[in-house]
Symmetry: D2
């Protein structure tokens, strides 16, 4: 049994999800490389010490540069806030470490391209955390398309709807600040939709978008961690500098039309990450809130029993199902991270690039920025312009 | 164009539904016999006069026996309260009229058998108003079973759930009085489930049931019409003499197991009339609240896309669809009555017995009474005992 | 009982729907003005004679100009193909007749404005057939918005998805020819979405769209009627001159963001006419395939039982429910036309303009053309430009 | 940090689920007692050695009696086949170990009572693996009932539908043999429904049931493990000695009516474990295939927005939600086992009996046997008879 020795930077929401993936992997995928949880890193010593103990890391540190100097680490897992991804990833690559980076790759396309150059130059493996690709129902959609069972693709429409900041008294957390988060709903949620579009449909050629910040100012929090924040700073308010919602239209290289919407103001939707694809031979519909299901329609079904089927992706033919429970027994959000880790381990064993990787991260960033440019200049933007 | 001259007794909820069926039929089924709405009868002159004018009947009367003496009527349509069905139907048959009677045929099995004898002796056409058979989605279920596409049938489970009397202050309307209504949820709702079971699965051989009257006394209304009632009689209360809910288990001749539940105490359900059938090759699920849909599952679907399909029974291959609107455009409750009338007209033109008819009414009554007997004697009852 | 004497031009799909509405209205809404079905007009004598008899019109004619000369007609109902709406409507107005015109009002904005001028100048009542406004579940959405129960509106997203021309062998019917139909999915389906947006959210200020014709050529039919066509002309093909799909983004005067999609290439969707609205206090979701339901969410629900409610618009508090069946009993597509006719009769009795009327038709046309302009010029277009 | 030292007997389907629960618990519930996975036991050395390594147990053994002699174990976890539960549990109790036993407690009521006596006499903690109680949506149902928000309970209907043995060529695995499994669908699936009924509604007083074995003989497998089996023994067949399906009606002490159905022949249902409860003030509906959702209805909602709400039990107010992911992010089947383990740890720390425990196991067994008796004697059986 080989092992892959991991150092991880970040210990909040994503840090927990990644840690759990490494922890569960050997139990459910025993024939794969076993991740070894060597060291976790975070800026707050108390916090990271607690995380190390809770998540099962052997050591912790508050200085991420120390990780790069160690000889006993094969992979650096980066899930710290987006503004530090670039610096860490490039230095990790230079230090000869494989890199697994959470999305978004960086705050800008330029930065993400530099990151890609660095990992390619260093010839290390690189992967990006587009975890939704690894829901078995999404993989079924991919399979149906690849096997031609949906025919020519005409439509891709996708929406990622949340409502956690609808209340105007919700404070100005870091995800609402452009200098740290880079983007709002667009980069946080839309990035996942764009990646799914690339994965399922292919290259996007042009886009035009619009966005809005519905609540322009919010209370400054006195303290904040992860997704939440508490207290407020003497009633002071600060400007929200990211988008609350971004919508855009797109054309794909293969002729399909795309519609994308990401918002944190879709009241009643906790986390509706959904897409629909219509092709000449069939259609599929996915909603992450019911992540084990894919609605599937085929034109060639007998004419008196045509209709969308509710397929459970926990049935034996589906991806990763043999690792889990009997058919009909749900798996959850965290499993998308475990499956991501499985791909990472497999790729490293097979000495190939994992998928999705920094190329996918750059492609995603390119569309994100093209949309922003189309909004700023109020015009259609060719992806190739960027 | 032939016509069928109709005299109708009853002018409330069912009277309205039947009238509308006759009125709409020639427009949507122009090649059929055209129903001629000659005369409507009711006990309250003001009420029936208003109904005649509103529904489009040529004349009205308050004396139903007059109808039987007229030579210009071909069919008597009986939708007055259940306690008068028997007398009218038998006399109508003796007068040589065809008879269309709402369910339940009568208050007792004995009475319903006398009615059947009378119509058979008189050699008139007879039909019973089990309208739910005529939802196109139900007819699709029947077709799939008849063509063997569901294989051997293992399970039939059906439930008819309403909640209109959950409030204990809801008054003691006639439907809650055994001497007029004959039965409560069992006869009102369960009768439909039993008929659907007969239609779809076949003969029931034995049953055991239980029932309950959750609210034993209710305010006496000062005035009541149709399903509703107003005012109350000086705060007086009267005993509820019918069941609020009846459940029973059943075995079918073909080996299938049946589960039936009818209740007026299923809070949140306005009128959930639903069944599911599981066979060796497939399954179907129906819910009248979404009456244009049938969920259909086939064992032999490809193994990676198995799942219940949501089939819209408004697609062109489905029953009656060519009379209505394009695929995907819903039809409603009243269409089940129009389709019933179509069957009535077709059968008369073809000089055959309509389906469902008084035999089906008697079969249903037999099961209803077998269930009641099983409740009274707390034992399994063979249908053949009655 | 007053009556309104009607002459109708058109006798196919919409002619049938309108005729049925007039026919049913007096039965279910007996206290309203009674429509009198005087004369129906169509170009094919055999066809219109058959329609007159089947639908219940007193007379028929093949010359629509005759209708305008008659003194015994109060209202002209226009549901002939879109290219003749303008001429008829203007002449009918000049002849002092009220006008009920199917959507779209005309093939161009200019034409529709002339029509509006004409009816205003003649001081006759005018109405347009945006029937989906009259689904009780849509009216509930309107009520919730008007009463402030959804708060400030952030998002309106709407999609009208059909699949009847996915097969490339489907022939080139008139709805696929620009000179007759004016537009494809955009004018046929998108017009309904735009009207619903106007009704529910309010004025649209700017738009940008894209469209596509996926199948550029189709077989020429030898014969065609209504939605369908048969045979083909010796294997000849003709160019499809309308859009198969149109998508656009929009901003509303009140700050809401809009997303619209209309397509005839959404495989598996027979007629999914759907919208979702998100506001600061709540959200609603509607799908015409389940037209009796509205999903409703409220921010202020207790925190442990928050979620979208499936409200049945057949409950007693809902629009028109007292005319129909008990709660939980579905109504269908045709009822939206009956309710439209009720509004028409009420408005005429009350000597006010019905809603929606030609103003709404013009507003809709303005957005339709703005979208087309935005597509042609590949830029955002202000509605006020047109 | 205290630890609880565990020895576990069984290493297949349930062994994996339990092991994972112990493994994940400290990461997501860090303030609880930490389970220490000391030793795992199974009959097949190769199999148990592999399981120990894969699941993370420190040691393994093939002799379960060895476990009871060790001083370094606090708890014995029993998830071996049902026929050996009794012997192990009684000896473990006598050895002073706490006992966590999978359901069913034993093959017979008599045996399960002996087990209860033993653990009570030994004064050890005992728990039974009714894991479905620990789905947060089920706990929400419990909370709503306990707080009186559903009012008086009228109806409990529950169905556990699977289809894994519909194919008559599916082999005769141990779950289809009465001497090992004790029971078929009734004991395997119905036991869960009965426990949920006890948990949510309370005591059952009388029952009457029916059952069926649709496929009487099946191929003998040459090899079998867990739920699956491979090969066949030269085409030989053996008798299926358990029920394929069992249905029963029940009365509850509080006056509610119950309907229960368990089957392995519900084609299209992989694992539909579902119940509905109707009370005077509201209703709830649960389906384990969508385990993060509870449909909730309240009578007292405003009259124009009444309807079942789809509540996501991943919202912050719900049980265990703070241990997992943000609202709207699904959890899965395995989480019910983790939550069970949390209850076990909490109870031991607080020196109280965990819930559910052997009393619940005995109560469930009592109803299971009462149903069997009612089937054998074809009569209503009082639970108190047994």
């Amino acid at each position: 049994m080989e092992t892959l020795k991991i150092g991880m930077i970040g210990y909040k929401f994503m840090g927990k999800a990644h840690s759990h993936a490494y922890r569960d992997l050997p139990m459910f995928f025993p024939t794969h490389i076993r991740p070894q949880m060597k060291v976790i890193c975070g800026r707050n010593e108390e916090g990271v010490a607690q995380a190390a103990s809770q998540f099962g890391w052997e050591e912790y540190t508050t200085n991420w540069e120390d990780l790069l100097k160690r000889n006993d680490l094969d992979l650096i897992d980066i899930n710290a806030p987006s503004d530090v991804h670039k610096d860490i990833a490039i230095k990790a690559a230079k230090a000869g470490k494989h890199v697994f980076c959470e999305k978004p790759l960086a705050l800008t396309l330029k930065d993400s391209r530099e990151m890609l150059e660095a990992v390619e130059l260093a010839d290390v493996k690189h992967m990006i955390g587009f975890n939704y690709r690894f829901a078995p129902a999404v993989m079924l959609a991919k399979k149906l398309i690849d096997e031609g069972r949906l025919g020519d693709i005409y439509h891709f429409r996708a929406w990622f709807l949340q409502d956690w900041i609808v209340n105007p008294e919700f404070p100005l957390v870091w995800r609402l600040q452009k200098d740290i988060a880079g983007s709002g709903a667009h980069g946080d949620l839309g990035a996942h939709l764009i990646d799914l579009a690339h994965y399922l449909i292919g290259e996007i050629t042009e886009v035009i978008g619009m966005n809005e910040t519905f609540i322009k100012e919010r209370p400054l929090p006195s303290n904040m961690t992860g997704l939440s924040a508490t207290g407020n700073l003497d009633g002071q308010k600060g400007a929200v500098t990211v988008d609350d919602a971004t919508l855009f239209l797109a054309r794909f290289r293969n002729g399909a039309l795309g519609s994308f919407e990401s918002t944190r103001f879709a009241t009643g939707h906790r986390s509706t990450n959904s897409f629909e694809i219509n092709g000449s031979k069939g259609s599929v519909i996915f909603d992450f809130e019911r992540m084990n299901e894919l609605s599937v329609y085929f034109v060639d079904d007998q004419d008196d029993v045509q209709g969308f089927r509710r397929v459970l992706a926990t049935d034996p033919p589906h991806a990763y199902s043999d690792a889990w429970w009997p058919a009909g027994h749900p798996i959850g959000y965290e499993h998308t991270f475990i499956h991501s880790a499985v791909e990472l381990m497999e790729a490293i064993r097979e000495d190939r690039l994992p998928v999705p990787n920094f190329y996918d991260g750059v492609n995603c960033q390119q569309v994100l920025e093209a949309v922003d440019l189309s909004i700023n200049e109020r015009r259609w933007v060719q992806i190739s312009e960027l």
